[in-house]
Symmetry: D2
Subunit: 357 residues, 4 copies
Amino acid sequence: MSEVLKSTRVGIVGAAGDYGEELVRRTLIHPHAELTAVTSRQYAGKTIAEIFPKFGQYELARELAFIEPDIDQLAESCDVVFLALPHGVAAEFATPLFERGVPVIDLSADFRLDSDEVYQEFYGSPHPAPELLKEAVYGMPEINREKIATARLIASPGCYPTSILLPILPMLKAGLIKSTGIIADSHSGVSGAGRKAEIGYLFVECNESIRPYGVPKHRHLSEIEQELGKGAGEPVVIQFTPHLAPVNRGILSTLYLAPSRKFKTDEEVKQLDQEIHSCYQRAYYEEPFVRVLEGGALPDTKNVVGTNMLELAWRLDPRTGRLVVMSAEDNLVKGASGQAIQSFNIMFGYPETAGLI
Amino acid sequence: MSEVLKSTRVGIVGAAGDYGEELVRRTLIHPHAELTAVTSRQYAGKTIAEIFPKFGQYELARELAFIEPDIDQLAESCDVVFLALPHGVAAEFATPLFERGVPVIDLSADFRLDSDEVYQEFYGSPHPAPELLKEAVYGMPEINREKIATARLIASPGCYPTSILLPILPMLKAGLIKSTGIIADSHSGVSGAGRKAEIGYLFVECNESIRPYGVPKHRHLSEIEQELGKGAGEPVVIQFTPHLAPVNRGILSTLYLAPSRKFKTDEEVKQLDQEIHSCYQRAYYEEPFVRVLEGGALPDTKNVVGTNMLELAWRLDPRTGRLVVMSAEDNLVKGASGQAIQSFNIMFGYPETAGLI
Amino acid sequence: MSEVLKSTRVGIVGAAGDYGEELVRRTLIHPHAELTAVTSRQYAGKTIAEIFPKFGQYELARELAFIEPDIDQLAESCDVVFLALPHGVAAEFATPLFERGVPVIDLSADFRLDSDEVYQEFYGSPHPAPELLKEAVYGMPEINREKIATARLIASPGCYPTSILLPILPMLKAGLIKSTGIIADSHSGVSGAGRKAEIGYLFVECNESIRPYGVPKHRHLSEIEQELGKGAGEPVVIQFTPHLAPVNRGILSTLYLAPSRKFKTDEEVKQLDQEIHSCYQRAYYEEPFVRVLEGGALPDTKNVVGTNMLELAWRLDPRTGRLVVMSAEDNLVKGASGQAIQSFNIMFGYPETAGLI
Amino acid sequence: MSEVLKSTRVGIVGAAGDYGEELVRRTLIHPHAELTAVTSRQYAGKTIAEIFPKFGQYELARELAFIEPDIDQLAESCDVVFLALPHGVAAEFATPLFERGVPVIDLSADFRLDSDEVYQEFYGSPHPAPELLKEAVYGMPEINREKIATARLIASPGCYPTSILLPILPMLKAGLIKSTGIIADSHSGVSGAGRKAEIGYLFVECNESIRPYGVPKHRHLSEIEQELGKGAGEPVVIQFTPHLAPVNRGILSTLYLAPSRKFKTDEEVKQLDQEIHSCYQRAYYEEPFVRVLEGGALPDTKNVVGTNMLELAWRLDPRTGRLVVMSAEDNLVKGASGQAIQSFNIMFGYPETAGLI
């Protein structure tokens, strides 16, 4: 943006879901965002504070009411629109808004893939707007900051992909690990399932339960492998197992990687460890929302929940020749709405941490 | 045992900890066990029901009081003694009881390893009774049932090892998978940490938290690799990452294995899948406490908590060439006290499910 | 029953809900119950073990399949039928089964009230079978054991009422407390809401939440006040506030009562305390499923969950002149299915603890 | 303060406990607070970010290290000092700091009571600094805003008292309820117990547990009754039962009150309801941190956790003649550190919501 607006008018479509709620929270406290439209078919006519009493302390939340989603109204009242909708549905809004010149930040999977064929393979139906795919920028600031700055359509990354890509990409780009044999084992809180009234997400079904799901071909694989492939400069296929754990928020990913060279002796371990350290420092030292843990600390979801931070740590295992990297993030913040706000800040020239700290 | 006793007098040392409590529960409802001694330094003089009100419905629990641990008293009043003690301490009781001819079922790690050198490497101190190691039988009924029947010293397996060995061993023995490159990613409930008053296990530190620990060389590796090595007929080194999740009980292990042969086409997948199915059927069809899930079901800790059952399922991934096996168990039952009762039943000639169903 | 059957054929209608599941568990382990019919519209054709993998260790659960509810089939194959259905629906089954001479144990509210007018007031619709009300016995063994023994229609008590009536009735009958000014403040686990796919019972809506509901006129009031009135010999009106807390199971009720006489001095306190103690001892000393806590102990739901036990303790407060009684139970066991099994045992002449210990 | 400082240097003694941690969070984001000293005997020498990785995104947290508590150093480097210490210990710091003219905001119970005799009765030891009691102002902004503005020693209210006093005081002052017969039934999250390594607060002891404690004479009664007495203009004695529920944060209080006049007919109910509504509106309409719920909504701790908001709702029950008021707050924020920050803002002339929104 050539000129930085003091305040930007923001619309949120699907504002009553989990992602929408977190977007509302962040824009309410954002010094440069002015929330002008929130849509929800279910709650049209109710104020934000009526549906989310926790926002009742904000005057705007007591005044602004949900509306039925309407392209005209959104285009008129907003300088940018966030889409917090299921995949497939998001494109129905993205296309007309984009055509009218309204920048769109889409939190669904609709514009994350470069190929409509891969979309069809993983999402089971033809892509709803293939012509827009080339316009979309994958909204991960740590790897695409410059493209985000000039984008008009942001495909904000998925929660699992964020927790997996940020730890792996620097290793892969630096050639410190092989691009083969990668395994990602992830555990997510229940908010990742969205606010759907399904038996499987009832309290008594999730409490005191740990369980895998979507094995072995979860949809997020398409996006993870695409971005890893770009980092590696060659196609990458990985193993990914998501699990559900009884916490509201948080994803813990444990990643099994194969360093490019052997390390057996203490000296070799020390040397490789130092190179990994340097690589992460180069990648993330100046990043406000990636924390590389030092000393004996390991990631813990409770340390990042409610924040836009992803934290990571690694351990070399000379017994097996593997590198184990662990990451923790809040699936609704850095894994979704917080990262989308980061893109918004970059697009509109605001400090990247605005609304996020 | 040549002759089956109608009832066997049972002692439990360390009966007030988590493992001890579960042993007490199982012996109270056991048709052939008569609980005659429970020890606890902390609670000596109190009845079982005073310390564990939940057992107040059992008359014996209202009458039997904890005593200070005493070898003479245990040897006189018990036909068998369970040790629910920390490693290192258990051997202090196992040695004199064994010498007096009292059969011992030890739930600690003290007698699980064949080699005192490996013990020293993983537990950080010399083995307290190396001469007894050759007497001990690894108390996993599914692989050692005959040896258990005549043993006088049972080393009951660890919780993580049980959740990892039972799914992997049949595959390894049948040659269906390679013995290299094995990864075990496990998530445990907090009871696995024992009843220790440490900050890290407080409610507010564990609730809403998922975190790895003991990376990359957890003590249980020694026992897992030893038993996998026996199954494979050659040394096995694996990657193992334990995590803590906010449930009281339960371990979910996700295991990444490499089938011995390639499978890419649908036909190859189907063929290998069928062989795996047959292999698990042969191994576990008649086992009362291993459930091989069919159809679309995946393991879930909530389905096994409170029971002595381990459930498992597998998925072949032709994209990566890997076999993913998932298991769920109750870390305090099949992972500890329930499995120990299974050994007790085998040793004394009782139905293997007595007290466990 | 003049003659005790070695085994009784049991049917469960609505066997796939929370109450039904607990009834299934209890009959599977019951030495004198033979489960011959389980109905579920949703799961007809599936075996018990398919729907509830946790019961997979029982052969019967792997063989017996759910059927569509059918009066003829139930009447032929069962000696007694449990109804685990919503109020209003239960009567549709109770009436024809009762008419055919099949004893019915109903866990719904349909037959708990003596008056169809009170039913209409609290449940908002005319009673579906008023002519049967006089046949029904309120199935609380501690107060109605003799009537239960000869009943053909049991109205098994509600979960909240059980947690409130058992602590209060002995005090009221002994004249130790006034029948006015009673307050019951109760907190229940989420399983009390049944297995309904509603937003309000999703994990993320219940976890990290404590909230009141149904204030000030919850339906269970009708049943509580009716039974308290019988105990007092005069109409009783109480204040009752239910809350939802993030546990799977358990009800903790804190009851505020007014002793009939003043107690200010230490001597008066001691004297009254002793009388309360004696009263509870008389009422419950021989009861297998009510535990009166002594010493400093206070009730805790975790001590009763999974059992048919209700535990209670009391404190006199000379500062306020009040008696505070606290109780804990498992809402699905003593508060529902366990208590129903108790009635079953009494009706058919089995030991009252069969299947419950 | 005659002149408002742009920034105020803040010290926190006992900064590594739960209250301290929340104070650190709030001062880190506070536009006018500059954190200059944080003390912790246990962690002296470590930076804030080392002990609380979640604050790692704040530069100051990565730089400022905990120090041993030292009066000289605090007096020199701070314009105000928060004490987040156990009762009894707080006075040891408050006295010398006060004497040196450093304003003190004490979160302990040490200065909340006007009478050292009542302190001795409820806290079991002589008051450590009785001469300072008359200097202290009870730091509840909604009732003492003017006194707070000029105070040099703030006794910040307890968590339970806040949840009870804010709903009751307006009713009492307006004469709408009697001052007798008040009952407060409260359920608190586990963080209320502080970060103490005690068995009773371990995850497995609190998870799946609801339990009362401190019955019938909890220490907070002294403070609650003192402040209610001031509101009523006469001594008040109430019944108070605290419970522990398995959430990290939050207090839900259900209050049973007796309106001063009868209400039976619909008209009388409506009239009284309207008066209560008006009374709460007068009291709290302009308060930023008390939310009076309208319509069918009832308080829920999850709606206030992480915020400085207390929310309340009421219901009249013509059946019993009682008024039931329910409130929810975050015990660590409005119940402790947030309210203390409110006092800080008032004392130093900052917007009352600074650092709290």
